[in-house]
């Protein structure tokens, strides 16, 4: 793809501003009607999806040039995908999220990226992860759990992929260990990979496409060699990357196809429903669940497409063959909720903005690394919403979300426990 491939999207954008709000049918209050953190924080229209399309058009038509402001416009966004959902309430010929990613890739190729990006990608290239931490420490999170470890030449059908943040960040350790404990208790035969490589989803969002493709190919190759048929991950970003981006990277009919990808909440839900897990301890807690963008809106199944735009009825725009329509409503929404409902004593109360209308935690699109203040502001808004439900705990299923919310709660001195779904499930077993 290239910027020009989204020129028609830009020309057909009507500046309706639906992209700034959650789908209007879902609006339940004045306070929680907004959907786009970027434009809500930065205000100028250019910081919305529609505004970014205009910026792209302005560049394509030579009306303006790339400067620091344009870089800020392109990258100061979580790529949370709310705009994509809201736009598609009324449109079948627009792909805002894909356009925003292409905008970033184009600027990246020109060397125009936020200041912190070169360091981050350097870490991936040199250390194998964005944190720049020693890969040798990758599996220390599992110390003492007695988990099987993938060795040279060993075959294991189910691989537990912890993800970099869960692996390295000690503050998130209880969540990832809880997930492993739950599956062990259920008798799941799984391994971990002590040399687990980064999914590189962040590289994709930063516009480093070659780095992403290289990483994806290496992971797919390693998994094929190890005989992996199922990947289970507690990280929503890894999940979305494997599920949505890897099939495209692998290409149709690839020698190294993408294994089955499961989020830990999905596997736990299966195990609860087939009776392998039987929560018995009461956990008296009122909780609200935050839908991670990468698990929800961007957790839909990938569909390959190689087609073209055609017109019917004179000018009506359609695609031949029909283009996959990612509406954000078919991601992983029910599994985490079903797990929570299965825990005795847990009362689930929904936030106003949930499922495809969920407000982002703030961390996505590398905003956490590149724009820490914006990141914290976005997380703070979500914590405010969670608190408004009266829940005692904010539960989610993503390392980035959990980290952000924990910090927001601590900074604001807010009385709200932040938990992973599997952490809560473990308490009930």
């Amino acid at each position: 793809m290239a910027l020009e491939d989204f020129k028609a999207d830009a020309l057909r954008c009507t500046r309706c501003s639906y992209c700034k709000w959650i789908p209007f049918d879902l609006v339940k209050s004045h306070q929680f009607a907004k959907g786009c953190p970027s434009v809500d924080y930065n205000h100028f229209h250019s910081y919305s999806a529609g505004g970014r399309l205009v910026t792209m058009l302005s560049l394509m038509q030579g009306r303006s040039e790339v400067d620091d402001t344009v870089v800020d416009v392109a990258f100061k966004c979580q790529l949370c995908g709310n705009c994509d959902v809201a736009c598609k309430v009324c449109r079948y010929d627009m792909e805002p999220l894909a356009a925003l990613r292409e905008f970033r890739r184009t600027l990246n190729e020109q060397g125009r990226v936020p200041e912190v990006y070169p360091k981050l990608i350097g870490n991936l290239r040199e250390a194998g992860n964005f944190a720049g931490l020693p890969q040798a420490d990758k599996a220390t999170w599992a110390d003492g759990l007695g988990l099987k470890r993938l060795g040279a030449g060993a075959k294991a059908p189910v691989l537990f992929h912890a993800g970099c943040r869960f692996s390295f960040d000690p503050t998130l350790r209880s969540a990832v260990r809880a997930a492993a404990n739950v599956f062990t208790k259920a008798g799941v035969d799984f391994s971990i990979d002590p040399d687990e490589a980064c999914c590189a989803g962040k590289a994709y969002d930063m516009g480093y496409r070659d780095d992403f493709t290289t990483a994806a190919a290496a992971n797919l190759e390693n998994w094929a060699t190890a005989g992996i048929t199922t990947i289970v991950t507690p990280c929503a970003t890894c999940y979305s990357t494997f599920k949505r981006l890897y099939p495209d990277a692998a290409g149709p009919g690839a020698d190294t196809p993408v294994p089955e990808i499961l989020h830990t909440t999905q596997l736990a839900d299966r195990l609860l429903k087939d009776g392998s897990l039987k929560p018995s301890k009461r956990v008296p807690l009122s909780v609200t669940y935050h839908d991670p963008c990468h698990l929800g809106r961007q957790g839909e199944d990938y569909e390959a497409w190689n087609g073209k735009e055609v017109k019917i009825y004179g000018q009506a725009v359609v695609y031949d063959p029909p283009r996959p329509r990612y509406i954000g409503a078919n991601g992983v929404y029910d599994a985490p909720r079903d797990v929570l409902r299965a825990i005795p004593g847990v009362e689930l109360v929904e936030m106003e903005r949930s499922r495809e209308g969920a407000w982002c935690c703030g961390a996505g699109g590398n905003v956490r690394e590149a724009y820490p203040e914006f990141n914290a502001w976005t997380a703070g808004k979500r914590v405010e919403e969670a608190k408004s439900t009266g829940a005692e705990a904010l539960v989610t299923a993503c390392s980035g979300c959990e980290k952000n919310f924990a910090e927001a709660v601590a900074t604001g001195g807010i009385d709200l426990e932040v938990l992973d779904v599997l952490e809560l499930l473990e308490r009930s077993l």
Binding site: L26, V27, H30, F44, H45, S46, I312, Y313, Y319, D320
Partner: protein, 547 residues
């Protein structure tokens, strides 16, 4: 000419550095507007670029910005949500500041008295959501719930599908705060005399007749910063139990509500039905909505739309499904109505009255569209108006033609010409061919009925130059067609005017049937806008053009 460093620094002092910009790319975010391609040279999608975009957070900041505009001879163009080409700067020759009002977004509801007080960036979806929780509701303008309440109330008539029952915002305006182009703050009605939001006309100044523009910000003078609108009783549930999934969410129908798609055997029967509905005072929301997709395609389109697994390319196959051709014929002269009862007995009576009206005019309920799935979708779509952007669904471009408002008998008079005109102009495939009748409009824009209109929805592809040119030609043709049957030009004329020179506009206004109005407005403008910083589209005639 770029804004001077001195003026820019002064703006920064007023609103803070982070709330003002003159970056070219940011400015293009404001210059780009829907409909620009239909009026700008070389089909450009950009209106003139503002010299700066400014985001004030209070009335005092607005006042300071406007005073600065007077000092530096800059025009001021405010917008709420910023939609339509007339929300942007209009004239290349003028140095214009764009005021983006999004930081002024506070609202409060006086629950006891049914009054909402809103700032410019409160949209209808927010007000509606808060109102129904308290047993109130509000009219939502035809452009949809994404639009600013204040812009609709102060700078526009504020009409919508529920106007039939609860009136447009302009009728329900209970006071407003206005920063005139000279930088004075005017508070109108009882609010202006410190008596609260009781009456828009006084005690205190009433400026109802002079401050309002036409559509949205088009033609308003100065900046409206706050207003109060009267709410209407909401007889439904106070929660909002939306079900389903994007895009076709649904709202279950309360037992005291009814939601119908009705069809008529002829336009005469259509007009009779409207009159009888007015006379019998039934109907809560009353709109010809679904026909926006075109009479040939609309029934199939909505069946597609309400199935999230389908997309536009499925419409041809749906048209071939058993019964859909018959449904298409059945729905050619259809419209939607929501009845709301205050009690079970009330709704049963309304139901009976409606049945009697249908029997008298030979109309009927469209069975498929009154089934649970479609009725619940209709219920949500009409109560919230969150799908109005479907105007653009076929090809990304839509323009409205005709829309002359009047009694149903008068409106039905232009339907044949409007339909034939679209069919003719779409014949070569450069406009979407969805049937000659793609006309949509409210049952009545005024409470109690009597004043309806039908807007022809013309779809074109703004990414295709030939299609865009066909859209422009259609607008010109529609004006000719209207005049040929004795009707005034419609909405298309207002669109096209944005591309005309000052000279042409002033000559056109001078040639109007009642130029005195424009002369009076000039005298008003001379008083409140001595330095001509206000919107160019304010309807006045300069002295030298006076007939």
């Amino acid at each position: 000419m770029p804004i001077s460093d001195e003026a820019y620094a002064a703006l920064e002092d007023i609103v803070g550095k982070e709330n003002v910009s003159r970056n070219p790319a940011i400015m293009d975010g404001y210059a780009f507007q829907w409909l620009a391609d239909l009026v700008r040279p070389n089909l450009s999608h950009f209106m003139p670029r503002p010299v700066a975009a400014v985001m004030p957070a209070s009335t005092e900041e607005v006042q300071a910005v406007v005073r600065l505009a007077n000092k530096y001879k800059l025009k001021v163009k405010p917008h709420g949500t910023g939609w339509y080409h007339w929300a942007a700067p209009i004239n290349d020759e003028h140095d214009t500041m764009q005021l983006d009002m999004r930081r002024m977004n506070k609202m409060e509801i006086d629950e006891k008295n049914g009054i909402a007080i809103v700032e410019p960036y409160v949209i209808h979806a927010q007000l509606h959501a808060e109102a129904i929780k308290r047993g109130w509701t509000c009219t939502i303008i035809g452009a949809g719930c994404s639009c600013s309440v204040l812009a609709a109330a102060c700078a526009f008539a504020g009409m919508g599908p529920a106007g039939f029952w609860m009136g447009g915002h302009s009728e329900n305006l209970l006071g407003m705060e206005w920063v005139t182009p000279s930088g004075e703050i005017v508070r109108s009605g009882s609010f202006g005399s410190g008596a609260g939001y009781v009456c828009g006309e006084g005690p205190g100044p009433s400026v109802r007749g002079v401050m309002r523009g036409s559509i949205g910000q088009r033609g308003g003078l100065g900046v409206f910063t706050r207003c109060a609108v009267k709410l209407a009783h909401w007889p439904g549930r106070t929660d909002w139990p939306v079900t389903g999934t994007v895009p076709a969410y649904r709202l279950p129908i309360d037992e005291t509500f009814r939601v119908y798609t009705l069809a008529m055997p002829s336009w005469d029967a259509w007009a009779d039905a409207y009159h009888k509905i007015y006379d019998n005072e039934i109907g809560f929301i009353f709109h010809r909505q679904f026909n926006l997709a075109g009479a040939d395609l609309a029934p199939a389109f909505w069946l597609m739309y309400t199935d999230p697994t389908k997309q536009l390319s499925d419409v041809p196959a749906i048209l071939e499904e058993p019964g859909v051709a018959e449904l298409t014929e059945e729905m050619r002269m259809s419209f939607q109505i929501v009845l709301a009862g205050r009690s079970k007995a009330d709704i049963e009576l309304q139901d009976q009255v409606l049945d009697d009206i249908l029997a008298e005019v030979g109309g009927w309920k469209v069975e498929r569209y009154c089934e649970k799935d479609m009725a619940e979708f209709t219920n949500l779509a009409l109560n919230r108006l969150g799908h109005k952007h479907l105007n653009f669904v076929w090809a990304g471009g839509y323009l409205g033609s005709w829309m002359q408002a009047g009694p149903p008998d008068w409106v039905k008079g232009y339907v044949p010409t409007a339909s034939a005109g679209l069919e003719r102009d779409a014949k070569d495939g450069l406009l979407v061919q969805c049937g000659g009748d793609a006309m949509m409009g409210p049952g009545s824009a005024y409470p109690g009925g009597g004043n309806t209109c039908l807007e022809q929805f013309v779809s074109y592809d703004p990414a295709d130059e030939a299609s865009t040119r066909a859209g422009i030609k259609h607008m010109e043709d529609a004006i000719t067609d209207a005049v040929s049957i004795g009707y005034p030009p419609g909405k298309e004329a207002a669109y096209l005017e944005m591309g005309h020179s000052d000279d042409r506009i002033f000559k056109d206004w001078a040639g109007a049937k009642q130029p005195f109005t424009f002369i009076f407005q000039r005298k008003f403008k001379e008083h409140v806008d001595p330095n001509d910083v206000g919107d160019r589209m304010y309807n006045y005639i300069p002295e030298e053009y006076e007939p």
